[in-house]
């Protein structure tokens, strides 16, 4: 992984940060209960469970029941954080997320670990490329894909303080640090300007934020200056940041570890189309599943690296030069 992110320091996996942040929140807030479906050691919710066994329920391998139980806990005043792999909790629990979480707009936080294709060797059945689109489709959900350990900690805290359903996507591998410490100004629906530039804007989240930062540095060497926005919150979007990016830089590239339809790219395009249409390119998976392999090889093969962002920036700049829109 390190080879993909020259100049950046590898930090913890966002799932590790999730477990620690949850444990820390548990020390402050008695009303938190945590449920997991037999993947607590992998999602790291076990970090909470070890310290608070009375408020931790490993429900066994039954995601649908877990989501329903969370509905019961929440309607009785608890703040459930429920976790499993992203593909399982979102896909197997989807109708329950609709009926017991979204429709009653209950105060439940859903954490999907092993997001994207970077879980690697276990293969596509354990990877998750549809979860963000599905979570975004649920009315009233906040959907957040943090980029590093520090932003994850801030997002877990924000999730507790937000009243309503939240989906947090966690990652399996260690990822580069984008921030130096827990960002004090983190808020759902607010993008973070990481690098300034006026030639184009790269809007990314999750692991792809670090790739966008690498792309920024490399493009700068040849005199192309791209703005980098960390759009951790896919829903609600920071529409003002998108409008300014379109207006001031005239071209947008999105980058996400997810299918390009239904996720960050699609949602940014929808906002830009309404606010200020500009040429756009999309880095992400194009209507495909991935396969087994080490994370670095997978990210290279499926087009999710700084190189792919740089190529997309060149394409979008060319289209703008040609007067396309």
């Amino acid at each position: 992984m390190k080879a993909l992110f020259p100049g950046l320091t590898l930090g913890k996996a966002t799932r590790d940060a999730y477990g620690e942040a949850l444990r820390d929140l548990g020390r402050e807030h008695e009303d938190i209960v945590v449920l997991d479906a037999d993947l607590a050691k992998s999602t790291k919710s076990a970090t909470f469970g070890e310290e608070f066994p009375d408020r931790f329920f490993n429900v066994g391998i039954q995601e649908a029941n877990m989501v329903g139980m969370a509905g019961g806990f929440a309607s009785c005043g608890k703040v459930p954080f429920i976790s499993s792999f992203a593909c399982f909790v979102i896909l197997k629990g989807f109708d329950q997320l609709r009926m017991a979480v979204a429709y009653p707009h209950l105060n439940i936080k859903v954490a999907g670990s092993h997001g994207g294709i970077s879980p690697g060797e276990d293969g596509a059945s354990q990877q998750s490329v549809e979860d963000v689109a599905l979570a975004c489709s649920l009315p009233g959900f906040v959907v957040c894909v943090p980029s590093d350990e520090f932003q994850m900690r801030a997002a877990v805290r924000a999730a507790y303080h937000h009243r309503g359903p939240v989906y947090l996507r966690l990652g399996r591998p260690k990822v580069p640090r984008v921030y130096e410490k827990e960002p004090a100004d983190f808020a759902f629906g607010r993008a973070t300007l990481l690098r300034e530039g006026r030639d184009a804007t790269v809007i990314a989240n999750g692991l792809m934020v670090a790739a966008a930062v690498v792309a920024h540095e490399r493009l700068a060497e040849e005199g192309i200056h791209v703005r980098v926005l960390d759009m951790a919150t896919v829903k609600p979007l920071d529409e003002e940041a998108i409008r300014l990016a379109a207006l001031e830089t005239g071209a947008i590239v999105t980058a996400e570890e997810h299918l390009v339809h239904g996720g960050l790219g699609a949602r940014v395009a929808q906002a830009a189309a309404r606010l200020h249409p500009v040429p756009m390119e999309f880095v992400g998976l194009d209507d495909t599943y991935a396969e087994s392999g080490d994370p670095e090889s997978l990210l290279r093969k499926y087009g999710l690296t700084a190189d792919h962002i740089i190529a997309a920036v060149r394409r979008v700049l060319e289209r703008r030069r040609d007067g396309a829109s």
Binding site: F57, A64, N65, G68, M69, G72, F73, M99, P104, L106
Partner: protein, 255 residues
Amino acid sequence: VEIVTALYFGGILRYDPRRPDWPDRDRFVLSKGHGVPVQYAAMAEAGYFPVSELDTLRKIDSRLQGHPVYWSVPGIEASTGSLGQGLSIGLGMALAARLDGKDYRVFVLLGDGECQEGQVWEAAMSAGHHRPANLVAIVDYNKYQLDGAVADILDLDPLAEKWRAMRWNVREIDGHDLPQILSALEWAVEHGPACIIAHTVKGKGVSFMEGENAYHGVAPTEEELARALAELESALPRAELSIEREAAQYREEGR
């Protein structure tokens, strides 16, 4: 109808319509959400909202949605209508009570066809493991589902053995016999997690509807409704339930 009546008016459910958010109230989850007109009628009668509001059922802008919606009217404790989900929600409620050291009870009413859903058995297995003493499931076993007889489509039998295998205490009763229902509920709250399998007859009390699946999910015509209400009225003890008053009002207003 008899089960919901027993819960609301038989001294089983502890509730206060003036304080529907009373934290210590018992919870009732109608997992077979399509039965919600019965619950609305009981709740109106109990004083949660005016009986006259029942006329707005399923109409635009009404609080009385076609299937239960969490808190659409105070006292509706869960959104249901996608079958199979209520027991999981009830289990979460029951465990929340235990965490908080509270003694409220949770009653979940399931349909028989609904027990074909896998999630019911996830929740049943989970409750058998966590053993919340305050959780009661009631299965309305009327032997029919939308497309036909349960036994023909996907037989549930032996149903009681299934619940027992999930480590529930189980009783089977005649679901139309109020004393039997009340005694089973009183037993259940002392023996949770407990399941009451209530054997019922679809359309009970209306001669032309009894066991006749053509009325599943289909509203009666005006003429059928009048006949049905007359039959039900004649079977009721005098002035016991407002359905009688409603029927009279219905005829007077000529609707």
